[in-house]
């Protein structure tokens, strides 16, 4: 049953999104243009459908969470329905043919990584028109550092269940979208051993200035940065000449690191010696900027990316890109209405108390 599993390096970018969801689809697209991405496969939409068909889970979810059922419901009712639907998905064993296919693909991934029980990130990758919008950002689960076929299969099941997080259910109910319109694929992605990671923007996220790349970076995995648990280092780089304009090193008090005892990535206090040390050097910054520019050029619109510098990476090698999205901030043409020094434009803007 090969259509239950899709390898991201063996699929055309367009068809990947349909079968593997938006998140994995973009990863496949990045791989197709030569950007360094971690090795990965997707447990497809077809697998999700198969699981539902075998178990009657969708019908159960219809009863609990359809837009009709929740029309005008208050928050407590939505939360209860979401919890019941999640519990149903988590509590239903994975169909044997899916379990076997995932386990087999995982073994194959270990093989490709030349590792045994390679740690992976198991990521929800929903489909449907709205699934990539900002409203769903962070609504679905990701499990970092899973290893061994049983834990990976279990994480896949929990990702399916996260289609019914309270946030996702409430949003769909408000918008009249059915969960049937956004079946859930799940990505199983080699966990790059992160020395440092973070996000990068191809425009300034606040001012919208398109002449620079803005990087936020911290030690370890990117969860602490993405969740805002840590004040990351802040770096701005001129997009056209790659010159570093600003490099602010902050005290990075929390780090997302691999906890071998638990077998997962967790947040912990950063060792004192690392807190005030720059988490990126100039060479690494240069390669991140290169990747961001390449991705922006490919899509033709501003993007943000999540990147990882592997602990095994040597200078000159690429950095890994684990995620990319369109940036929602409105890009500006530059500092002035017209490019260059235009005394009249600046005077109109600033010489008359903002009322020129």
């Amino acid at each position: 049953m090969t259509d239950l599993i899709l390898w991201m390096d063996q699929t055309a970018a367009g068809s990947a999104t349909e079968a593997a969801g938006a998140k994995m689809g973009r990863l496949a697209e990045l791989a197709s243009i030569g950007v360094e991405v971690p090795r990965s496969f997707a447990v497809t939409v077809e697998a999700f459908r198969h699981q539902c068909a075998q178990t009657g889970l969708l019908e159960r979810a219809d009863e609990l969470c359809s837009p009709q059922a929740l029309d005008g419901a208050d928050d407590a009712v939505v939360a209860e329905a979401s919890a019941a639907a999640r519990a149903a998905f988590v509590g239903t064993p994975v169909a044997e043919e899916i379990r076997a296919a995932v386990a087999e693909a995982y073994e194959e991934l270990c093989d490709r990584c030349l590792d045994i029980n390679v740690p992976v990130a198991v990521r929800s990758s929903a489909t449907g028109e709205d699934s990539s919008s900002a409203s769903f950002a962070g609504a679905f689960d990701t499990y970092l550092g899973m290893s061994g076929p049983d834990r990976v299969v279990d994480a896949v099941r929990r990702c399916w269940a996260s289609l019914f997080t309270t946030r996702a259910v409430a949003y769909r109910a408000r918008r009249g979208i059915s969960h049937r319109d956004m079946p859930m694929a799940v990505g199983v992605v080699e966990l790059v051993h992160a020395r440092a990671s973070g996000v990068a923007f191809s425009v300034h996220p606040v001012s919208g200035k398109a002449d620079r790349v803005v990087i936020e970076s911290s030690w370890g995995w990117g969860e602490a940065v993405v969740q805002g648990l840590v004040t990351p280092d802040h770096i701005e780089v001129g997009k056209s000449d790659g010159r570093i304009l600003q490099h602010v090193v902050n005290s990075k008090d929390v780090v997302s690191a691999f906890d071998y005892a638990v077998g997962a990535v967790t947040e912990m206090p950063t060792p004192e010696r690392l807190r005030r040390r720059a988490s990126l050097d100039d060479e690494q910054i240069g390669r991140i900027v290169e990747a961001v520019r390449e991705i922006e050029d490919h899509y033709g619109h501003p993007v943000d990316v999540e990147w990882v510098v592997s602990g095994h990476r040597r200078p000159g090698e690429s950095v890994s890109i684990v995620q990319t999205r369109p940036v929602t901030v409105a890009a500006t043409a530059g500092p002035a209405a017209k490019p260059g020094w235009d005394p009249l434009a600046f005077a109109a803007k600033y010489a008359f108390g903002g009322k020129g």
Binding site: P335, A336, P343, L344, A347, A348, A351, G353, G354, G356
Partner: protein, 583 residues
């Protein structure tokens, strides 16, 4: 709800005794000045810091030629899109100024288009334009220097008086013709820098280090200081009050007399300036050298010699470093904007012109009027040499033309002197602003020179709502932090009250305050932007300075301990006065 400061106290037709202004008694372009009426409460009025003593009737000519004519003509000619210049109301002898707003959006658009045609040419040809205007001012000036008031009869003095008035009026046409476009360009650049994330506190540095006529004067004063020290005059200077220095040094003879000869040579070149801006009541240094001798006395107290060449070299190095540091943070595209912008504001350099024009215009423009007025007083046998300064223009010209006898005005002059003194005493208790506080002021001169920016306006709002103000904010004008005892001064006259290491708190400073910067630890001003006098001198002397604080002279009490943070633009008041009271 907008904050409104009632103007009722100042609504009156009454003015200087014995004079009712006729509508056409003074020139204006858009709006003449007058006394307050109730509808003025809708507008925003700001107590002008230039004349802390108040203005005599002849002194009020500045309001006519400067504000009603100069600013309004320049604002209409350039034109400024959202404003038509500055008008003013008289409260006794004091001036409240207000912008004349343009409210029609259509007209603002039309005016912006016209300014767009005029501004680039002005900026490109600034050097030529200013050189030509300076030459014109110099021709007028040489003309008046060539007149001997002792030799002129009343008819001749009448002629001189009218020419002096024409010069005065023309000088302020030039003054604002240059000032508005320079400021417009500077404020545009300032905004562009802020937009590019540059530290606004650094922007003034990009424009520093160019020699001006005022700096030339300071250099000569230091040379005289060194000469005084070599001549062994230090003890005399230390023991003598500035007012008595000239007489004492003259009487001493010997090396002292020789030094005085040098000093008088200096005065012949640099002494034709008043101690304060544009006031016919102020004598020049030639007439009364006390300010110059007082400055030398202060310089001697300071001890070491000031190396001007080294200081200037340092300013230039600092300028280039500030520009390099700013550029290093900019993208390639931004650097193109910044480089062209810096080139533009350096070529049409507002900071430099601010100092330079004070020498050519503000500090001497009223002298020919003063000379003619004083000579007329002498010819008509006035009781005191400056009695004619208490006549209004129509009265004085009538006297000079023989149409009116001075004897008819003798009594009223005495009344007016009392009126002047009365209002001089009232000044410290007068509100800094009156009427309706706006969200923003659009006139570039009021924004930058008077510091009516959002810091100032929000400080007024805070006080209006009864909020206790402990930390004041303003413009970070000169970097560094200093803590010391506050001396709240109303006038440069009181500078002797400041001891070394104290913090100067005042409405604003002008060139005659400069010597104080050699001894103060910090400076706080109600008004003034990053290019105001206090800001420029603060940076040159390395004195932490915060301007545009709004109500510093009201909130800070003399003797309070204050901390001036010139890097971040904040002033923290430690209520020492209250603590003492509690003990």
């Amino acid at each position: 709800m907008a904050t409104v400061i009632p103007i009722d106290e100042y609504i009156t037709d009454e003015w200087y005794p014995g004079f009712k202004p006729a509508f056409d008694h003074a020139p204006f372009v858009v709006e003449p000045f007058r006394t307050f009426s109730k509808e003025d409460e809708q507008r925003f009025w700001f107590l002008d810091f230039h004349w802390p003593r108040g203005l005599t009737p002849m002194g009020l000519i500045w309001n006519e030629d400067g504000y009603s004519w100069g600013t309004q003509l320049a604002a209409e000619t350039l034109p400024l899109p959202p404003g038509r210049g500055i008008t003013q109301r008289i409260a006794g002898t004091h001036t409240y100024a207000s912008p004349i707003d343009m409210t029609s959006e259509f007209e603002i658009g039309e005016r912006a288009a016209r300014m767009g045609e005029a501004l680039p040419g002005f900026l490109a040809n600034f050097d030529t334009i200013w050189a030509s205007r300076r030459a014109e001012v110099e021709r007028w000036w040489q003309h008046f220097r060539g007149l001997d008031t002792d030799a002129l009869d009343l008819r001749g003095l009448s002629q001189m008086l009218k020419e002096a008035r024409a010069f005065h009026k023309r000088a302020f046409e030039i003054h604002f013709e240059i000032m508005y476009p320079l400021l417009v360009n500077y404020l545009g650049f300032y905004g562009a820098c802020a937009e590019m994330g540059l530290d606004p506190g650094q922007i003034g540095k990009f424009l520093q280090g160019n020699d001006t006529k005022i700096m030339e004067t300071d250099r000569e004063l230091w040379k005289l200081t060194t000469a005084a020290r070599h001549a062994g005059l230090e003890p005399t200077f230390a023991a003598t009050e500035p007012e008595r220095l000239a007489a004492t040094l003259d009487a001493a003879g010997g090396s002292s007399g020789a030094w005085m000869t040098k000093f008088r040579d200096f005065l012949q070149v640099y002494g034709y300036r008043t101690e304060g801006s544009c006031d016919v009541a102020l004598p020049s240094w030639i007439e009364d050298p006390t300010p110059a001798l007082g400055t030398i006395k202060t310089f001697l107290q300071k001890g070491d010699d000031h190396d001007f060449d080294k200081a200037r070299e340092h300013l230039l190095v600092e300028r280039d470093e500030a520009i390099d540091a700013a550029r290093s943070r900019l993208t390639k595209e931004e650097r193109e904007v910044f480089d062209a912008g810096v080139a533009s504001v350096q070529a049409a350099n507002f900071t430099w012109w601010q100092d330079d024009h004070n020498y050519y215009i503000d500090l001497r423009v009223s002298l020919p009027l003063r000379w003619a007025s004083l000579a007329i007083a002498d010819r008509v046998g006035a009781n005191r040499p400056d009695d004619t300064l208490f006549l209004f223009w129509p009265e004085l010209t009538a006297v000079a033309d023989g149409e009116k006898s001075y004897d008819d005005l003798r009594g009223v002059v005495e009344d007016r002197r009392q009126y002047f003194d009365h209002w001089h005493e009232r000044r410290p208790s007068m509100p800094k602003v009156l009427g309706t506080v706006p969200e923003a002021v659009t006139d570039p001169i009021l924004i930058e020179i008077f510091g009516l920016n959002h810091h100032f306006l929000s400080a007024i709002e805070a006080l209006g709502s009864g909020t206790e103000v402990k930390t004041l904010s303003g413009i970070a004008a000169s970097k560094g932090v200093a803590r010391g005892i506050a001396r709240v001064l109303n006038d440069a006259d009181e500078l002797h009250r400041i001891a070394p290491g104290e913090i100067l708190v005042c409405e604003s400073t002008s060139p005659n305050w400069t010597p104080a910067f050699a001894k103060i630890a910090g400076c706080v001003c109600d008004g003034g932007g990053s290019l105001s006098h206090a800001a420029i001198v603060g940076r040159e002397y390395g004195v932490p300075t915060v301007t545009a604080v709004g109500l510093a002279t009201v909130v800070i009490k003399d003797g309070d301990e204050v901390e001036v943070d010139g890097t971040n633009g904040t002033v923290t008041v430690f209520r020492a006065a209250d603590i003492r009271a509690a003990e």
